[in-house]
C-alpha cells in the first residue's frame, strides 16, 4: 500500500520537475542588434508559415508555390496579428515556424525589439514607397496595406439627423450619444491602429490642454459602444454595412472603425451600391501595413525567402483587393474599378504620423490609459 502511494506521488510530482524557471526573452541590444539564433528544428523540406486566418492563402495559391519551388507548405494559424507575435515570443528559443506573415506596423517593432525576425534575402524590388514608409529595413517586407479610419452610414449622417463631423470632438456632442462603435485596442488590430491615430490627431489639434485619452473619456461618457473585435463593431452595431442582413444585427451605431476602402468592398459585393462611406479627417486615420518576415531561428530560410518573393509576385499581390480585401503593395497598385470598388474607396489626405518605434515604446502605456479612460 505504502509503496503504491509513493509511486502515485512520484507520478504526481514528475510533471513539475524542471519547469519552474521562467524563460527570459532575448532582446535587441542598444543599437538594435540581434544575434542569429540556431534553427529551432531540423530542416525537413516543409516550409511552415505562422499566420492568422488570411483569406488570400487558398489551397490553389499554396499549391502553385509548391509546384514552382518543390517546397511543401504547412500553415500554423493563430487567431490574429497579436497571436502571431505571442507565439513568436513564446517559442523564441525554439522556433517551430519559418516565416511570419501578418504582423502589422503596430506589432512589428515589438517583434524587432525581441529579435524575432532575421534579415531576408528575397528580391523585393517593386514595392511602393507608401508601403515602405512605416518600415523599410531588412527584417520585414510589406505584403498588403490599407488605411484604418472611421466609416459612417450616409443615410443617418445625412446633414439632418446627424451632420458629418469636422472634428473628432463633434462625436462627443449630445447628437452622437451611443452612435459610435469602437473595437477595443486591447483585443483588435484595427482598434489598436485607430487608437494610435487618435494619439497623433490630438497632439496636432489646436487645443493643447487635452489629449487623446481625454477624448476617449468623453466618448465613453457619450455612451460610445466598445466591442472586443472589429466583427462585433462592424457586423452587429454598425448600420451602414453588410451587417444589416446578418443574423444578430443591432444597427445601433451610425459610425464605426474600419478601413477607408471598406465602403468599396461593400459596393464590390453589393452590386455597386453602398450607403457606407469614410470620414477622412487629417491625422484621424492610420496607414496599416502588414508584413512577412523570416523568423529568427527558422529552419527553412531559403524556402521562406522564396515564399516572400512569391507573395510579392504580380499574379499574387495584385489580387490582394479581391482575395484579402486589402490593397496590393506593388508600385502603381490601385483598387479594382469593378462594381464600384475603387469609386467608393476613399484616400485620406493625411494619415497619422506616428513611428513604429514610438508605438512599440508607448503602446502598453496607451492601452493602460485607454482602459482607464473608457472604463
Amino acid at each position: 500500500m505504502k509503496r503504491n502511494l509513493v509511486m502515485m506521488l512520484l507520478v504526481l510530482a514528475a510533471p513539475l520537475s524542471g519547469c519552474l524557471e521562467p524563460i527570459e526573452p532575448i532582446t535587441a541590444d542598444a543599437d538594435g542588434g540581434c544575434e542569429l539564433l540556431e534553427p529551432g528544428r531540423e530542416s525537413d523540406g516543409v516550409l511552415r508559415l505562422l499566420t492568422y486566418d488570411i483569406a488570400a492563402f487558398s489551397e490553389s495559391m499554396l499549391g502553385e508555390f509548391t509546384n514552382q519551388t518543390g517546397y511543401d507548405i504547412e500553415l500554423i494559424r493563430t487567431d490574429d496579428a497579436g497571436g502571431i507575435l505571442e507565439q513568436l515570443l513564446q517559442t523564441q528559443q525554439a522556433q517551430q515556424a519559418d516565416l511570419a506573415i501578418g504582423l502589422d506596423n503596430t506589432y512589428l517593432q515589438t517583434a524587432l525589439n525581441f529579435c524575432l525576425l532575421q534579415p531576408h534575402t528575397a528580391n523585393v524590388s517593386g514595392i511602393a514607397t507608401e508601403a515602405l514608409q512605416p518600415y523599410d529595413g531588412p527584417l520585414a517586407v510589406p505584403f498588403d496595406q490599407g488605411d484604418v479610419c472611421l466609416n459612417y452610414d450616409e443615410t443617418r449622417v445625412d446633414g439632418t439627423n446627424l451632420t458629418v463631423p469636422t472634428s473628432l470632438w463633434n462625436l462627443t456632442e449630445p447628437a452622437w450619444v451611443g452612435q459610435v462603435a469602437f473595437p477595443s485596442p486591447v483585443t483588435s488590430s484595427p482598434g489598436r491602429a485607430f487608437m494610435s491615430a487618435t494619439v497623433d490627431y490630438f497632439e496636432h489639434d489646436d487645443d493643447e490642454t487635452t489629449n487623446a485619452f481625454d477624448w476617449w473619456r468623453a466618448m465613453a461618457d457619450n455612451d460610445a459602444i466598445f466591442t472586443t473585435g472589429w466583427t462585433e463593431a462592424y457586423e452587429i452595431h454598425y448600420s451602414g454595412g453588410y451587417g444589416e442582413w446578418v443574423e444578430g444585427h443591432l444597427g445601433d451605431a451610425a459610425m464605426t472603425v474600419s478601413y477607408c476602402h471598406s465602403p468599396g468592398v461593400e459596393a464590390f459585393y453589393g452590386g455597386n451600391w453602398t450607403k457606407s462611406t469614410s470620414l477622412t479627417l487629417p491625422r484621424a486615420s492610420f496607414h496599416q501595413v502588414e508584413y512577412a518576415g523570416v523568423i529568427n531561428g527558422a529552419a527553412e530560410v531559403t524556402a521562406a525567402n522564396a515564399f516572400i518573393e512569391y507573395l510579392l509576385s504580380e499574379s499574387v499581390n495584385r489580387n490582394m483587393p479581391e482575395n484579402n480585401l486589402m490593397k496590393s503593395v506593388l508600385n502603381g497598385a490601385t483598387f479594382p474599378g469593378t462594381d464600384g470598388y475603387a469609386h467608393h474607396t476613399d484616400v485620406p489626405s493625411l494619415n497619422a504620423e506616428i513611428s513604429n518605434e514610438r508605438i512599440a515604446d508607448e503602446m502598453e502605456d496607451w492601452i493602460e490609459r485607454w482602459t482607464e479612460a473608457t472604463q
Partner: protein
C-alpha cells in the same frame, strides 16, 4: 458484496492510473497559476484581491450572475412542469421522446449558437414569433418599452438558448422522481385534510419530493449558464461572462515581459472563477445527497399505466416543446442552403448549394471539411482510447477500496479524480496554454495536443459510468471463473470485462460526442496554435467578415456536418442502452 481474492487487491497499474488521472486534472491548471505567478510576481490570492480593478472583470461577474440566474429561473419554470408531465403519464414513443429531450445537452455548443442565430434572422422562426433583436416590433419591443431596457434582444436570446440547453437536465433529474414515486403517497395524502386541494398537495407532496431533484438540476443549470462561452460569444457578443473574458485574454497570458497586465487580469479572474465553481459544485453535491435520500420508489411502467394517457393540453405542451427544441437544429440545415444577397438598397434570399461546395473544398482558405472532420475524429478517438482504460482502472480502484471498507480514502480519491469537473472548458484550455505550452514551447508542434484537454474533460464521465457498472456485476461470476483453469486475462474477461462491454460502448460514444463538440478548451489552444477541429472551423468561418454573402451558408454547412456526425456517434449510445435494457445487463 465480497470480492474474489483475485479482484480484491488494487493492482499497481490501477494506482498509477489514479495518480495519472489526478495529475492530469491538477497539473495543467496548477502550472498555469505558477506560470502567471512567475510572470506577474503576484500570487493568485493577491491577484484575487485586485480583481475588481481588472478591466471588464466586475461587469463580467455581474453579467454571469444575472444571465445565470435568469436562465435558471426560466429553466425551472418550464422544466419542472415538463418533467412532471413527462414522468407521470404513459407516452407514445417514450424512448424516442426522451432521446429528443436529451438532444440539446449533447449538441455541440457552436452548432447551438449558429442554430439560434439562424432562428433569429429575419427569415427565422423566433424572429417571426416576435424575437426582434432590434426591439422594433413584437415581444422585444414590448419588453423594451415596458422595462426601459434599450436592447434586451441579445440577453433574452442568450437566456432562451440556455433554457434550451439545460431543459434536459430538469428531465434527467426530476422525471425519474415523478415516474417512480410510490402512488400510495399521493393517494393517502388525498384522504388527509392537508391533501384535499391541489395547492395543499403541491405544498405537502410535490415540493418536498421534487425539491431536491429540482435544486440539483437548477444548480447545474446555473453552473453551465455561468460558464457559458460559445453561446455568449455568438448570441451576446457585446457582453462577457467570466468564462468568455478568460477565453478572450487567455491566449496572451503567461508570456514573460509582454502584456503583464493581461497575465495579472487572467490570474485574478481565473482564481475567482475557480473558487466560485468549486462552491457551486459543493452546493450541487449537497443537494444531490438530499436528492438521493428521497428516492423511494415504485415501478415506473406500472406507475405510468396507472395514470394512463396524458391529457390533451399536456400532450401539446410536451410535443410542442420537443418541436421547439429541434427548431435550432433544423434551422442550421435550412440556413446552409439559403443565401441572402444584396441588390441595390434591398436584399433577397434564395436557395443555394454554394455553401456546401465551399465547405467541401475549403475555398475560404480554411482546411477542407474532410480534413477538419478527420482531425475531430482523430482527437475524439484518441481521447476515448486514453480515457476508457484510465477511467476503468480508476473506477475499479474506487470500487475495490469501498469493498475493502476504505470508504474515506475512496471518497478522497474520487473527489480528486473529479477535479476537472470543477473547471470549465476554458479553464482547462488555460491550463494547456499557460500551463503546458508556455513551459514547454516544443509542444506547439505536437499534432495531438487537443487530445489532452479532451481526455481531462471526458474522464469524469467515464469514471461515473464505470463505477456503477462494476458495482452491478454479480461476484458469483468471479467465483465461478476462479474455479476454472484460466489465465489472468481470461479470468478478468469472464469475471468482469465481458460485463463492461455495453457500459464501455456507452462511455465511448458519449466521450466521442463530447470531444467532437468541445469548443472552449480547443478555442483557447487554437488561439495560439494550429489544431483545426470541426467545431473550431465552424467558428472560424462564421467569424469571417461577411461582405461575401456565402460565408454564412458555408459556416452552416460545416455546422450541419458536425451536428450529423455527433448524432451518429450518439446513436451508438442509444443502441447500447437499448441492448442493455433488452438483455438486462
Amino acid at each position: 458484496m465480497r470480492l474474489n481474492p483475485r479482484l480484491a487487491q488494487v493492482p499497481l497499474s490501477h494506482w498509477l492510473a489514479v495518480g495519472l488521472v489526478i495529475a492530469l486534472g491538477l497539473f495543467p491548471i496548477s502550472l498555469a497559476l505558477i506560470r502567471l505567478w512567475a510572470v506577474t510576481g503576484i500570487s493568485p490570492l493577491s491577484a484575487l484581491t485586485m480583481v475588481q480593478d481588472q478591466p471588464g472583470a466586475m461587469e463580467a461577474l455581474q453579467f454571469s450572475l444575472l444571465e445565470g440566474l435568469a436562465s435558471t429561473v426560466l429553466t425551472v419554470a418550464l422544466g419542472v412542469p415538463l418533467a412532471w408531465a413527462f414522468g407521470r403519464y404513459q407516452w407514445k414513443n417514450l424512448q424516442l421522446k426522451r432521446a429528443l429531450l436529451f438532444l440539446p445537452f449533447v449538441t455541440p455548443p457552436i452548432v447551438a449558437a449558429v442554430g439560434f442565430l439562424a432562428l433569429l434572422s429575419p427569415d427565422g422562426f423566433l424572429h417571426r414569433l416576435g424575437f426582434d433583436l432590434h426591439a422594433e416590433s413584437g415581444f422585444m419591443r414590448f419588453l423594451s418599452e415596458r422595462s426601459g431596457w434599450e436592447e434586451p434582444g441579445h440577453f433574452v436570446a442568450l437566456v432562451v438558448a440556455h433554457v434550451w440547453f439545460n431543459l434536459s437536465l430538469m428531465i434527467r433529474f426530476v422525471e425519474p422522481v415523478v415516474a417512480q414515486l410510490d402512488p400510495a403517497w399521493e393517494e393517502q395524502l388525498a384522504l388527509l385534510p392537508a391533501g384535499r386541494s391541489k395547492q395543499n398537495r403541491l405544498q405537502h407532496l410535490w415540493i418536498p419530493v421534487l425539491g431536491p431533484a429540482t435544486l440539483v438540476a437548477a444548480t447545474y443549470t446555473f453552473f453551465f449558464s455561468f460558464t457559458s462561452f460559445a453561446l455568449v460569444k455568438w448570441l451576446a457578443p457585446s457582453a462577457n461572462t467570466m468564462e468568455s473574458l478568460l477565453g478572450e485574454m487567455g491566449g496572451t497570458a503567461g508570456i514573460a515581459g509582454y502584456r503583464v497586465e493581461t497575465s495579472l487580469a487572467v490570474l485574478g479572474i481565473a482564481t475567482l472563477q475557480m473558487l466560485l465553481m468549486l462552491a457551486m459544485l459543493v452546493l450541487a453535491g449537497r443537494f444531490e445527497r438530499q436528492h438521493s435520500q428521497v428516492l423511494s420508489m415504485h415501478h415506473e411502467v406500472a406507475n405510468r399505466a396507472r395514470h394512463g394517457r396524458p391529457p390533451r393540453p399536456l400532450t401539446w405542451f410536451v410535443n410542442g416543446t420537443i418541436v421547439l427544441l429541434l427548431a435550432p437544429l433544423v434551422s442550421v440545415v435550412i440556413a446552409s442552403f439559403r443565401v441572402t444577397t444584396r441588390s441595390g438598397s434591398g436584399f433577397s434570399s434564395s436557395w443555394t448549394l454554394e455553401g456546401w461546395k465551399r465547405a467541401w473544398s475549403g475555398d475560404l482558405s480554411t482546411v477542407p471539411v474532410l480534413e477538419a472532420l478527420t482531425n475531430s475524429l482523430t482527437y475524439a478517438g484518441l481521447a476515448v482510447l486514453v480515457a476508457l482504460p484510465l477511467g476503468y482502472a480508476v473506477a475499479s480502484c474506487l470500487v475495490t477500496l469501498r469493498l475493502q471498507g476504505r470508504k474515506r480514502l475512496a471518497g478522497v480519491l474520487d473527489s480528486l479524480c473529479m477535479l476537472p469537473l470543477s473547471m470549465s472548458a476554458v479553464m482547462v484550455g488555460l491550463g494547456m496554454v499557460a500551463g503546458i505550452l508556455r513551459w514547454f514551447p516544443d509542444m506547439f508542434t505536437f499534432p495531438y495536443l487537443p487530445v489532452l484537454p479532451h481526455v481531462m474533460l471526458v474522464l469524469p464521465f467515464v469514471i461515473r459510468l464505470m463505477v456503477p457498472a462494476i458495482e452491478r456485476i454479480d461476484p458469483m461470476f468471479a467465483e465461478q471463473a476462479s474455479l476454472l483453469p484460466l489465465s489472468s486475462v481470461a479470468f478478468w474477461w469472464h469475471a468482469r470485462g465481458s460485463f463492461l462491454l455495453v457500459p464501455a460502448t456507452m462511455a465511448a460514444s458519449l466521450c466521442l460526442a463530447f470531444s467532437m463538440g468541445e469548443f472552449g478548451a480547443t478555442f483557447l489552444v487554437v488561439r495560439v496554435g494550429s489544431w483545426d477541429s470541426l467545431s473550431i472551423l465552424v467558428d472560424q468561418v462564421a467569424s469571417r467578415p461577411k461582405f461575401d454573402p456565402y460565408v454564412f451558408p458555408t459556416a452552416m454547412a460545416l455546422a450541419t456536418i458536425l451536428m450529423v456526425s455527433t448524432l451518429l456517434v450518439l446513436s451508438i449510445n442509444e443502441r447500447a442502452r437499448a441492448w442493455r435494457k433488452r438483455h438486462d445487463v
